[in-house]
């Protein structure tokens, strides 16, 4: 489903990696590892198509993501290390707005249910600027609860979460893999994902 060939990344004057390739099928998870500055986030941004690779190609369902970018983006859910939530809006409005802009059908009940799962019940009508860092992260993660697009790309999803939330998120990701989804993520904490095949890619 997702293939990368011979990728090369140059940031500034430095070559971060070259000749990098991988192949990921339905139900598989790719863990990107490497020290700070090894190019994990750059590789993620190449995979989602925001950063054009210096050389090489990424294909989704056999077609180049640059040539077929709109079809690819319709299958993609990206969660960066920024939360992508609006401080002025409430958690509920944030969820509905992001689903709306990504052209997904999300009913208000589904959104409320997702917020309850991330432990934000009772705070859905409070503007996000009054929430703590961890709670804001949970608002961002609530998007994943009802997310059915096949490819998830997650940049450090476990950061700022407490132990219970880490387990919950690992459960959400394995549910996604069981449904035949794919996931690519970077993380410094190795969290066991109970289902699906886990592949590892070390950048050095």
């Amino acid at each position: 489903m997702l293939e990368a060939d011979n990728l090369e990344c140059v940031r500034g004057e430095r070559r971060l990696f070259a000749g990098l390739g991988f192949k990921l099928e339905a139900g598989e998870l790719l863990y990107l590892q490497g020290r700070n500055g090894a190019g994990k986030t750059s590789l993620l941004r190449m995979i989602i198509g925001l950063l054009p690779p210096e050389a090489g190609e990424i294909r989704w369902k056999g077609q180049s993501i640059r040539r077929n970018s709109e079809d690819f983006r319709a299958d993609l859910c990206y969660l960066g290390h920024l939360n992508a939530i609006k401080e002025e809006l409430t958690p509920l409005e944030n969820l509905l707005a992001s689903a709306h802009l990504a052209d997904e059908a999300l009913s208000e009940d589904d959104a409320l249910d997702a917020l309850e799962q991330v432990g934000l019940a009772g705070r859905e009508d409070l503007a996000c600027k009054y929430l703590s860092q961890g709670q804001k992260r949970r608002v961002a993660l609530a998007r994943l609860v009802k997310e059915r697009r096949p490819l998830w790309v997650l940049d450090e999803p476990f950061v700022a979460l407490d132990v219970a939330a880490v387990d919950w998120l690992a459960g959400i990701i394995s549910g996604h893999l069981q449904r035949g989804g794919l996931a690519v993520m970077t993380t410094h904490q190795l969290v066991a994902i109970p289902a699906g095949t886990v592949r590892e890619l070390k950048l050095s």
């Binding site: 709109e70 993609l76 992508a84 002025e88 809006l89 052209d103």
Partner: protein, 222 residues
């Protein structure tokens, strides 16, 4: 296609309503700058009538400039711009929505308050009407052209000053024809020609600017 444009407009208007201070401060800036001129020049109706179109238009350009740096910067800072760029639509449509929303909160209020300010300059009847029409027709072009500048300077330190240097020269045609429309009407020549040109500039910039801005945003997001 229209759905995504309306979705973006709806979201941006809701955000603007939660942050009314921004709208109100740009509007007050416009009111105060324009009102300072009659106070400084003194009660000379002929001179004021001559100055009116230029003063109102220059103040409108500056008031628009005030809100431009935030057009994409807020979305860029909190990561929503990435999500917008990854939505399964051309980014140009998203930017079109943002430009229209920007005009609704920054250009439209200027046009609505302009006739009141025009009275201070002894403009009457036709002059006031054409002034309002010109600002109404010209400000969408300001938002469109401004979006290109805002996208090009996104993420730069001191981008605000650079933005003014980039965008203000491009505003000159709008300024000339906008002020010219009122002058022509006051002197009895009729401002229809100027207004048509303003409308043409607005449509051209609304059609073209979002795509140029989208290309600049993609570079900023790399």
């Amino acid at each position: 296609m229209l759905k995504i444009i309306f979705a973006v407009i709806g979201r941006d208007l809701k955000l603007a309503m939660r942050r009314q201070a921004d709208i109100v401060s740009a509007l007050f800036f416009f009111v105060i700058v324009v009102s300072l001129f009659p106070l400084g020049i003194g009660p000379e109706p002929d001179l004021l009538r001559k100055l009116a179109p230029g003063v109102l238009w220059v103040a409108a350009l500056l008031a628009t400039m005030l809100s431009l740096p935030r057009l994409f910067a807020d979305d860029h800072r909190d990561g929503t711009l990435e999500q917008l760029a990854l939505a399964p639509h051309p980014l140009g449509l998203v930017v079109t929505g943002k430009v229209i929303a920007h005009w609704l909160v920054s250009g439209l209020p200027l046009a609505l308050i302009a006739p009141v300010l025009g009275v201070q300059f002894d403009l009457t009847g036709d002059g006031l009407f054409v002034l309002t029409a010109a600002i109404l027709l010209g400000t969408p072009a300001l938002s469109g052209i401004g979006a290109i500048g805002a996208a090009l300077t996104l993420g730069l330190r001191g981008g605000g000053v650079l933005l003014s240097l980039l965008v203000l020269p491009l505003y000159i045609p709008v300024l000339i024809f906008g002020a010219g429309a009122v002058d022509a009407t006051v002197s009895g020549l009729g401002g229809e020609g100027h207004l048509s040109l303003l409308a043409a500039m607005t449509f051209a910039s609304l059609g073209f600017a979002p795509w140029a801005s989208a290309a600049a945003l993609k570079i900023a997001l790399e």
